[in-house]
């Protein structure tokens, strides 16, 4: 099998040296460096790792080797940006086997952040439930407000009747 990136439900924004992806399905944001971005973009299910390595070199303009591409593939898979199990099913050696501990200690090619639901205030009683309440969205429209009963706003003023 050849590596295949997951691209549905993902929005990409190109920066000068990186690509930022928003995964709408999982509400996660990923920052891919040049190499990881080139691997993700070129993983179309038609290329072997060697072909992918050449494509990455051409795309990024920087030297890439098989070990670096494997590292990127594994990080992309861990981030949920590859079709499930592709790296393992492809019979590829894992990054740990391929590159050893020295590279693992280096900086990640893919940085991930979970998009948390916003919270209003710290000085409040603990919430009843675990999750914050749903915020108004197109899928969570506000209900109609209760109409004022038996009340007419005073003309030209804001005071209570």
């Amino acid at each position: 099998m050849k590596p295949l990136a997951r691209k549905s439900g993902i929005f990409a924004e190109n920066l000068p040296e990186e690509v930022v992806l928003y995964d709408k399905t999982r509400d996660k944001v990923h920052c891919l460096n040049k190499t990881a971005a080139a691997v993700w973009e070129n993983s179309d299910g038609s290329k072997t790792v060697d072909e992918l390595t050449r494509a990455v070199e051409a795309k990024s303009g920087a030297p890439a080797d098989r070990k670096l591409v494997l590292q990127a593939l594994e990080e992309l898979e861990e981030a949920g940006l590859m079709e499930a199990g592709v790296v393992r099913e492809a019979g590829l050696p894992s990054r740990r086997e391929a590159v050893g501990k020295m590279v693992l200690a280096g900086s990640a090619l893919v940085a991930t952040m979970v998009a948390a639901a916003p919270k209003a205030h710290a000085s409040q009683d603990p919430p009843k439930g675990g999750d914050p309440p749903p915020l108004p969205t197109p899928h969570n429209p506000p209900p109609q407000p209760l109409p004022p009963i038996g009340f007419k706003p005073p003309a030209g003023g804001h005071k209570k009747p």
Binding site: V20, V29, A120, P132, P134
Partner: protein, 279 residues
């Protein structure tokens, strides 16, 4: 100034503890918000609840916040704040309820404002750029911002950095909320007159400082890439989950010409000294 306008809602189901409930509608940042709350609570709110808010009449609201007061088993009054019918916060005591209601109103506007992206952050202007320090409530934003202002920076916000489609930073024009009374007095004397005038103009993003307080730390930051700087802002972005594309696009434009740094910071005054000396 207290809330200038509220229309009484005489609804037996929403009256508790002999209180009357009132309705307050206002527009801010293109969003219409309705508050249904006991009079005693509304009278605690300072106006405008959200910077630039204007009282609204009629028409459908984009969101409704309603507050119900009830006797707490421990004594005092317990307030439930509901957003569009879903309980979002429960607080005890009038002052805490007013504070929570104000925060929810501001957050709701920040979430729903369609043409702007709100990021939890303190903001000052230094030279020609915005210094943005992202952080949630109680992360020390207000104290930091005040330290910058005391050293000559121009105040923009202690709560939200407001980004437009070109990535420029707008002021969130309210007095800083400081939890120490003496600091609040300093803020009032420093900024009270300033806030009486027109808000400053939108400016390009200059610096983003991703920092966390650690007693005794000295600011020794590492430079962040454009993408990592963007992640630092997105981590504090209010509408990220409901408008991810807009959030990412607006902030990506902002960070292209900005510098991002990350590190531990010590006391606000030392941090501000170091930052402004280095920029």
């Amino acid at each position: 100034m207290l809330v200038p306008s509220r229309n009484q809602v005489v609804s037996s189901s929403s009256c508790k503890l002999g209180e009357h409930n009132s309705l307050l509608s206002f527009f801010a940042y293109g969003v219409k918000l309705e508050l249904h709350a006991p009079d005693a609570l509304l009278s605690q709110l300072a106006w405008p609840i959200v910077p630039g808010a204007e009282v609204a009449d009629g028409g459908q609201a984009d969101a409704v916040l309603s507050v119900r007061g009830d006797r707490s088993p421990e004594g005092g009054t317990r307030y439930e704040i509901a957003e569009n019918g879903a309980v979002s916060s429960v607080v005890t005591g009038l002052e805490a309820a007013a504070s929570a209601l104000e925060a929810w109103a501001q957050l709701t506007i920040a979430t729903l404002a369609k043409d702007l992206v709100f990021v939890h952050a303190g903001v000052v202007r230094w030279k020609d750029g915005a210094v943005v320090v992202p952080g949630r409530s109680l992360s020390g934003k207000s104290t930091l911002v005040l330290s910058f202002v005391e050293r000559g920076a121009v105040y923009y916000s202690d709560e939200y950095a407001v980004f437009d489609s070109e990535g420029r930073v707008h002021p969130y024009w309210r007095l800083p909320k400081l939890r120490v009374a003496s600091d609040q007095r300093v803020a009032n004397s420093l900024l009270g007159l300033t806030l009486g005038g027109a808000p400053p103009k939108p400016i390009p993003l200059g610096w983003v400082l991703i920092s966390r307080y650690e007693a005794g730390s000295r600011w020794q930051p590492r430079r962040l890439s454009c993408g990592r700087t963007l992640l630092g802002l997105l981590d504090n972005t209010v509408p990220l989950r409901c408008r991810p594309e807009q959030s990412v696009q607006f902030l990506a434009r902002a960070v292209r010409n900005a510098q991002g740094f990350e590190g531990m910071r010590g006391e606000a005054a030392d941090f501000a000294d170091q930052i402004l000396a280095s920029f």
